[in-house]
């Protein structure tokens, strides 16, 4: 029995199972008449919906279990024949391959587990930055799509239409080719601004020299963010109690910018920069963003932003005009209308599809393997090729992405419960 046959069996079985349904309560509860004389003879069990349901479910479970068992025994026989050891023991052995960009210390002498960790961190890095950029760009284009300026609206519409209809993998290849073919070698690197170089080794730019001030600034920023969060809660409560509005966003922004700046001044305003310098074949110093990472990021962001833009547009349009007019007629300023009336209602429509798009971005980051960025899938693929542990490798990939998705949907469910429209 070939797997396709098995599959067909499952499908036809599912059809027959689903075509049976316990249906309305009228059908599922056999009518009981007290009069024994009028009581119909008991229906045979295959006509009794409740019993039939049990039979179907048991059969379905048995079928699934037997298919699983069949595949399992085959797999075990195959593994034995090819003498592949099962289990995750291989994770402890030496990986023996280098990874181009790693966020933690890694060398070829480290174990597979370390390599996979590096890959997972790379996936998280590109997804995290990609999500932030996508939301910004997508919101921007979504708003531009609704602009009263014909030219801007058409331009945004064209962007959305073009980007949505071209496969993301093709876009990745395109950006990667741009980096590798259009940009010059390090010697003739483009130098658009002072300290920024663009060449086929990636984007290289200057960063401030390491200084104690920067750590302190990071902490102060964190404190400012926490303060902003607290301020937000306090401001909302005050608004609910008294109706007075506190300029939360502006104050938080001022805190987040001002406090680190003050700290920087306090440390004597260190301005030393770590400027990249050209040495024989490549740049030394500064920060290098590899072409692989840039191409992946550009491709994912440009592609997903088109979908996000449509979501943002639909969300804004879902707020009825009456709401806006009502808000203006009670005397709110345009900024307040946006902030207090349009945004909360649009967000309710925007957030669920937005999350699914951002999850798509995370999943699409697995295409990194096609352009040689060492994300989790790429590292796992190398591991599979070296060790032959195909089942464990694919299971790991699925596990990692499933945990991303499931934790996001968990978070989303909580959010939806909080935001759900309370109707009368």
């Amino acid at each position: 029995m070939t797997p396709s046959l098995i599959l067909r069996c499952i499908v036809s079985f599912l059809v027959s199972v689903c075509s049976y349904h316990t249906g309305s309560p009228l059908q599922s509860e056999p009518s009981i008449t007290p009069d024994a004389g009028l009581q119909p003879s008991a229906a045979p069990f295959w006509r009794d919906p409740a019993k039939r349901a049990i039979v179907f479910q048991v059969a379905a479970l048995l079928l699934v279990a037997s298919v699983c068992y069949y595949l399992f025994t085959n797999t075990q026989a195959n593994l034995e024949r090819q003498s592949i050891a099962t289990g995750f023991g291989f994770l402890e052995t030496e990986a023996g391959f280098e990874i181009g960009e790693a966020m933690v210390d890694y060398s070829a002498a480290d174990s597979y587990a370390d390599a996979l960790l590096v890959g997972a961190l790379n996936t998280i890095k590109v997804s995290f930055i990609g999500v932030i950029l996508t939301v910004i760009l997508g919101t921007f284009i979504g708003i531009a799509r609704l602009s009263s300026n014909w030219l801007v609206a058409r331009l945004a519409a064209g962007y959305i239409e073009v980007m949505q209809n071209i496969p993301v993998l093709l876009q990745l290849f395109f950006w990667y080719a741009i980096f590798y073919e259009t940009f010059p070698s390090p010697r003739q690197a483009l130098n658009p601004f002072n300290g920024v170089f663009l060449c086929n080794r990636g984007l290289i730019f200057a960063v401030p020299e390491a200084h104690a001030a920067h750590t302190a600034m990071g902490w102060v920023l964190l404190i400012a963010l926490v303060a902003g969060w607290g301020l937000n809660r306090w401001g909302r409560r005050r608004q609910a109690l008294t109706g007075q509005i506190f300029p939360i966003i502006r104050v938080t922004l001022a805190l987040c910018l001002g406090l680190p700046l003050l700290t920087w001044l306090f440390y004597g305003a260190p301005t030393a920069m770590n400027v990249p310098e050209l040495q024989s074949f490549n740049f030394k110093g500064g920060i290098t963003i590899s072409p692989e990472f840039s191409a992946l990021l550009l491709g994912l962001v440009f592609y997903t932003a088109a979908f996000v833009a449509e979501i943002v547009r639909a969300g804004i349009q879902s707020v009825s005009r009456g709401q806006i007019e009502a808000a203006m007629s009670v005397g709110l300023r345009p900024g307040q209308v946006l902030h207090l009336v349009i945004f909360p209602q649009a967000l309710r429509v925007i957030i669920p599809p937005l999350t699914s798009q951002l999850l798509n971005l995370t999943k699409n980051s697995s295409l990194a393997i096609a352009i040689g960025y060492a994300d989790f899938v790429a590292v796992t693929n190398t591991t599979i090729n070296q060790t032959g542990q195909a089942i464990e490798g694919v299971a790991l990939i699925m596990l990692v992405y499933l945990s991303f998705s499931l934790s996001t949907s968990l978070f989303m469910n909580i959010y939806n419960k909080k935001m759900v429209l309370v109707e009368r």
Partner: protein
């Protein structure tokens, strides 16, 4: 009786020239306030900066059908990379002298798709045409009859492979998705759980992992000596993947149906099968046309992912062409060509769905 005011009212005041016609349009759409005027000017400046060089790169300084050596001497685009390699890009490793066969198969496919677009042709005969066409296309591609030499599936590549993966992916995933959605709505806990677990698991992982599964794990599932073609395995992965997404879309349609429809179907004495086929699904599937097309479009675009497991779809054949040192520096042109190709297909699908949605809209 003549009223003295009649004559006066006949002399209509013409609207001011600044409010109608080209000027009026410009004023209301591009320069209606200072902010929009500024935006317009900025966009115009950008166009002025970008369009002339792009235009001269693509059309003026470009060469269209020359050898690679001529390309080296031009500043513009070298579109020659496409016509010079078109056979390989479209048909890949299909034997050179037999390439009319996939070509004819694609023409047949496109002709039938165009024919099916007209809703007046949606009859039983259309299904028969499709069946006949599929058999003809399969025998054209595989050969073995009428003296056509056999071409194994591992030589199928290029555009026919892309179309095949997409077509069968869409056609097979749709019914499976509908069944999964019905299963998810079922009141039987075991069936429901199986469907939910399947749908959520597939939707939680990237397509790549399923393709990997099909290429490295699937052979382990089969008993000794049984092998399944690589293309078929990838096809199965695409179908299984897309079905979960179709299922979620269809579930949305089922949930949007009012309870009254289910109850009305029950009260007419229809059994589950009939009520689904005749009452619920026609309405539910209709309201989810736009998201369904979204899913189908992504199936079409996602077929390009088979590049990663080394199947030669049209993207891979293009990449192989570009790996030839002669053409290696013209990837921008080749990728733009492919992008246009994909865009045309996807745009045709989505505009057709908009038309279908309008036609099927019965006003509630």
């Amino acid at each position: 009786m003549s009223n003295p005011t009649t004559k006066a009212t006949r002399e209509f005041l013409k609207p001011p020239v600044t409010e109608v016609g080209v000027i009026g349009w410009l004023r209301s759409n591009l320069f209606n306030n200072w902010y929009n005027s500024l935006l317009t000017v900025i966009v115009m400046l950008l166009f002025w900066q970008l369009i002339p060089p792009a235009f001269s790169w693509a059309f003026v300084n470009s060469v269209w059908n020359t050898s690679a050596e001529v390309c080296r001497e031009t500043d513009g685009a070298c579109w020659s990379v496409i016509p010079q390699n078109i056979n390989f890009i479209f048909f890949g490793f299909f034997p050179e002298d037999q390439q009319w066969r996939p070509g004819l198969a694609m023409v047949l496919l496109i002709a039938l798709v165009v024919y099916s677009k007209n809703r007046n042709h949606w009859k039983k005969s259309l299904g028969i045409y499709w069946l006949i066409n599929l058999v003809v296309m399969a025998s054209l591609m595989y050969g073995g009859i009428f003296g056509l030499p056999v071409v194994e599936t591992d030589q199928w590549s290029g555009l026919p492979l892309t179309f095949m993966l997409a077509l069968f992916g869409i056609v097979a995933a749709y019914p499976i998705g509908v069944i999964l959605a019905l299963g998810r709505q079922s009141k039987m806990p075991a069936i429901k759980t199986l469907c939910v677990v399947y749908i959520e698991m597939i939707r939680g992982v990237p397509l790549i992992s399923l393709l990997f599964m099909s290429s490295v794990m699937f052979p382990l599932f089969l008993p000794d000596g049984v092998t399944l073609d690589k293309v078929l395995r990838a096809q199965a992965a695409i179908i299984l993947f897309s079905a979960a997404y179709v299922a979620e879309v269809v579930r949305g349609g089922l949930q949007a149906m009012s309870r009254g429809q289910f109850e009305a179907a029950d009260s007419l004495g229809l059994n589950y099968n009939q009520s689904m086929r005749l009452i619920i699904l026609p309405q539910a599937l209709k309201i989810v046309i736009p998201p369904t097309v979204g899913v189908l479009l992504s199936v079409f675009k996602d077929t390009s992912l088979v590049v990663i497991i080394a199947l030669y779809d049209v993207l891979k054949t293009t990449k192989v062409t570009l790996s030839n040192p002669k053409w290696t520096s013209y990837s921008t042109e080749a990728y733009i060509f492919l992008a246009v190709l994909y865009f045309i297909c996807c745009y045709a699908m989505s505009s057709y769905s908009r038309k279908l949605e309008k036609e099927l809209h019965t006003g509630h």
